[in-house]
């Protein structure tokens, strides 16, 4: 595996679908890219999704080939499980300070056999499954992870040493510590993606209290064939749910939780999940409580109509409060907007809150680009140069600039790569690299000549 070099053409922060796309577009143009990801695997949120709307294609079938392509591209160097500590302007380019977190094993030697994970005696909630499933203290992040390399979560380690004993390649190195590395890049692309609105944001919905009030990414995992339960069950008792509710605008368009904007994707992902539930569970009743349906993309309105036609109940109603019954069923107090605001209580087995999108990472103290009021990166010329930030040479792609769906995130990441390439040519970054390399080669030649004498 390659060592981090002193100089790259571009740094891409974030190894989700947008970051990978930006890195691939730059790599294909011949630029050397350092792709940094804080998690142990690239793939971001998308690799954990079940299917994508409106085509219902398998999400990981689209994402994993990109992951493999980025990992094997000659011009792209992956640096997973690494945090970006500081990016500072230095001369024409940027000095980049990274902290590589210890996996407690030598990556080159790990063959991803999983034996250490099977031997580990402790189970803890798995972040990839949003806590619904378990992982071990030493684990391979998930089946599609790239790299397929184990990582030891030392905070949950019981220090039994079984992982090391069963490792066929003896790759464990318990002496590893976090390591600071500095490099440089001519341009920076921020593609740090999203988080969903915290489940505790709206106390009235009990998202952090009631076991059967789920977040939508957890539902993605439950619907996935490699998910924590293997099929759709409710978390409180394993019941096959017969009545499921979606509460729209649960985490956006709401000033009371500080998120006044529309997150753009919630209507569509909820409709997609609702439609798929009718395919997965025979006779299930799925109700969407919505204020209005925003199906704005290509084929989206048709998808909405298809979902309703295939049995999803779209009810124009605002959920005011959710309470829990004795058996963990949920009671929704709904203001029926099409019935003069009549208030009704409805009982469901399971509720999914259609949470909004918030920034996955904040640049504060790391990159001197400005954020907008909503916390996403500020793009002052959004209409003509959507990837330009307030800092010259720093570009943004995907949801880091604002909520958007996967196709838009990919398109904007491509635009960020194009803008970064233009910038690198304008400042003559590669020509400077040539000059530096030329000087080094000349110096080497002098040394070799001197040694010959």
């Amino acid at each position: 595996m390659a060592k981090i070099r002193e100089r790259y053409d571009a740094l891409v922060i974030g190894g989700g679908i947008a970051g990978m796309q930006a890195a691939l577009d730059l790599g294909e143009q011949g630029y050397d890219v350092l792709l940094v990801e804080k998690e142990p695997s690239i793939g971001g949120v998308m690799v954990g999704l079940n299917k994508v709307f409106p085509t219902l294609d398998c999400s990981s079938c689209i994402c994993t080939p990109r992951m493999a392509e980025a990992a094997h591209h000659a011009r792209i160097q992956l640096q997973t499980y690494t945090e970006v500590e500081r990016v500072e302007k230095k001369g024409t380019g940027f000095a980049v300070h990274l902290v590589k977190k210890p996996r407690f094993l030598i990556e080159d030697d790990c063959v991803g056999c999983n034996l250490c994970e099977l031997a580990c005696p402790i189970d803890v909630p798995h972040e990839f499954d949003y806590g619904l499933g378990a992982r071990r203290a030493v684990y391979i992040p998930h089946g599609n992870a790239i790299p397929q390399t184990a990582v030891l979560d030392v905070e949950n380690c019981v220090f039994c040493g079984k992982c090391e004993k069963v490792c066929p390649t003896h790759c464990f190195d318990f002496t590893q510590e976090a390591e600071e590395v500095t490099t440089s890049a001519g341009a920076v692309i921020i593609a740090t993606g999203l988080q969903i609105t915290p489940m505790a944001a709206k106390k009235e919905y009990g998202g952090d209290t009631f076991v059967n009030v789920m977040n939508p990414l957890g539902m993605e995992r439950i619907q996935s064939s490699n998910g924590p339960y293997g099929r759709v069950l409710r978390p409180s008792d394993g019941k096959i749910p017969r009545s499921i509710a979606y509460v729209q605008c649960a985490g956006s368009r709401d000033r009371s939780i500080g998120i006044p904007y529309c997150s753009r994707v919630c209507c569509m992902y909820a409709l997609k999940q609702a439609l798929l539930l009718t395919h997965y569970i025979h006779g299930v009743e799925v109700t969407l409580y919505y204020m209005d349906i925003r199906a704005f993309g290509k084929g989206y309105e048709q998808f909405y109509r298809r979902a309703v036609k295939e049995g999803v109940k779209a009810t124009k109603g605002k959920v005011a409060k959710i309470t829990e019954a004795d058996n963990h069923d949920l009671i929704l107090r709904v203001e029926m907007l099409d019935e003069n605001g009549r208030v009704e209580e409805r009982r469901h087995d399971l509720v999914v809150l259609a949470q909004g999108l918030v920034p996955g990472w904040h640049v504060g103290g790391v990159v001197d680009a400005e954020e907008a009021e909503d916390g996403f990166l500020l793009t002052p010329e959004a209409k003509v140069s959507p990837s330009h930030t307030t800092m010259e040479g720093v570009f943004v792609g995907g949801v880091a600039a604002g909520p958007k769906d996967i196709p838009d995130a990919i398109v904007e990441a491509g635009e960020a790569a194009m803008a970064a390439a233009n910038y690198l040519e304008r400042i003559g970054w590669r020509a400077m690299a040539g000059a530096v390399l030329g000087a080094s080669a000349a110096k080497q030649e002098v040394v070799e000549t001197w040694e010959m004498h």
Binding site: A134, P147, C157, F159, D173, T175, S236, D237, G238
Partner: protein, 100 residues
């Protein structure tokens, strides 16, 4: 994936894990309690399932555990091959210990 050079030789053998334990101050009190509780619950679930296939509510009642606690631990056991799911019974799946 880049790998920076290792500054120290990997700790191997009998005392290798001791290096890590010492550096991180061992298991926290909370983790010790969590692990002990996990072992207690797993023992109960294994004993409960020896009697035959059960749904989550049946197993929870037999082991005097909360249903959601039973569900989480049972799914962990399923993931790591200790438990398999079977037929449906009144809207719930039946789970059994994997043979062998």
């Amino acid at each position: 994936m880049s790998e920076t050079p290792q500054t120290a030789k990997p700790a191997k053998g009998k005392n290798a894990i001791a290096v890590l334990r010492e550096r991180h101050g061992g298991m926290s009190k909370e983790l010790k309690e969590y692990f002990k509780e996990q072992q207690r619950i797993r023992k109960l679930l294994r004993e409960g399932l020896k009697g035959g296939a059960m749904t989550v509510p049946q197993l929870a009642a037999a082991c005097k555990l909360e249903t959601h606690t039973t569900m989480w631990h049972l799914m962990a056991m399923r993931r790591y091959g200790e438990v398999v799911e079977g037929a449906e019974q009144n809207g719930y799946l039946l789970y059994t210990l994997k043979e062998g």
